[in-house]
Amino acid sequence: MVPIYTSRGEGKLLAVIGVVILLALVALLQIDAARKGQESLLSQILTTVAVPVESTFTAVGSGLRDGASNVANLPRLASENAQLRDEVRTLRAQDAVLREAASAAPDALRFAARAATLDQAIPATVIGYDPTNALDTITINRGSHSGVVRDAGVVDAGGVVGRVESVGPFAAKVLLITDYTSSIPAVVQQGRWWGIVRGSQTRAQMTYISQDAVLKPGMRVVTGQGRVFPPGLLIGHITSVVRGDASLYQVAKIEPAANFGRLSHVLVLPKPGSSTK
């Protein structure tokens, strides 16, 4: 029996075909943008629209969490405050002595350039995370309008956070150092052993360290000379070392210095070489 096609059924079929073609077109544009490492127009529009919504949700969440935490910790805060005041006084005195020493050191100019790099950093607030947690990324509320550029380094008060992966007009996405696909050149501060710090989802690990290196838990790992970070920024501390007899290199597990569980305020660094002359 020959089926009878009505105009309604035909219209529905055309609508389905149209939607499929449109989705395929959007998919191709998205893939092309991802391959070029750029933000697609759709990404820019949706990210810009999402910024105020995410900011509101994050502010409400942070307010509730901080409020509850403050109430719970109230008795401890007074004594901790007094202790911290003493600590700040001591550290300020030490800082003055170290600045004097640095000014007399032969590489004082390099030190000053690094300090200037941090002075030019752009403060930003974390407003969102990757919606699916597939990749370790965060969204910050500063974009190209504030001077954020792709591949700029991002730090917080503790240490290195990650690097800017894509930039929109009012927001940027940052790939964290804990992501599997992140890798940055690093140095073990005691001994100056070089290696590459890679992400391992919740923590990081330093690979390609020479078998001759004497590594101990607690040693500081800082950034090496690279195109994203200035050298000497704290990445984290070694927690354990894997040293196979048959392997060419050692692997050190690292506890990141940045607190990724409570990431709220970060600094976007200018790219090395683009800051001061």
């Binding site: 989705l23 191709l28 991802a34 949706l46 699916t132 597939a134 989802q201």
Partner: protein
Amino acid sequence: MSGINEVDRPAHWPSLALAAALAIVLESTWLSRLHLRGGSLDLVVVFVAWYAATAGASKGLLYGALCGMAEDALAVRTGAAHMLALGLTGAVCGLGSRFVLPDSVFAIAGIVAVGTVLSDAIFWSTMSMGGFPDGLGSLHFHRSLWSALLGVMTFVILWSTSTWLRNRNGSR
């Protein structure tokens, strides 16, 4: 049409769009901090699987693809992997619902669990084709199982709440 399917009638597009938008914003803000042994709640997959189970394969595919498109736009370097993963998950969940009772909470919970694992599997397969390491899929497998458990728990809570609200409104 009223009758036995009145309770599980597919939702309308405005409420679906609102649910997806809310789910994506929640996932990128509050829910990102909630983890169960590495797995996190994927609310969008829950909604896609739930809708597909009640509305069928073609509508599930369309809703999943649109949700995935929004996720891809807000994520980094995923291209159209979420779009493909959620679209196919919606289609499979819609097809799978043909073999079960559409108003059974256990059946849809099972579809949500399978949908979560399937979505992750398709996503990481697509990403590996795009140059990501092959091992990431298997590394994320155990996380997918925990995510599936969280998804099922959330679905049961949401389903119970919506049923209670409908019954309360119906009795007035």
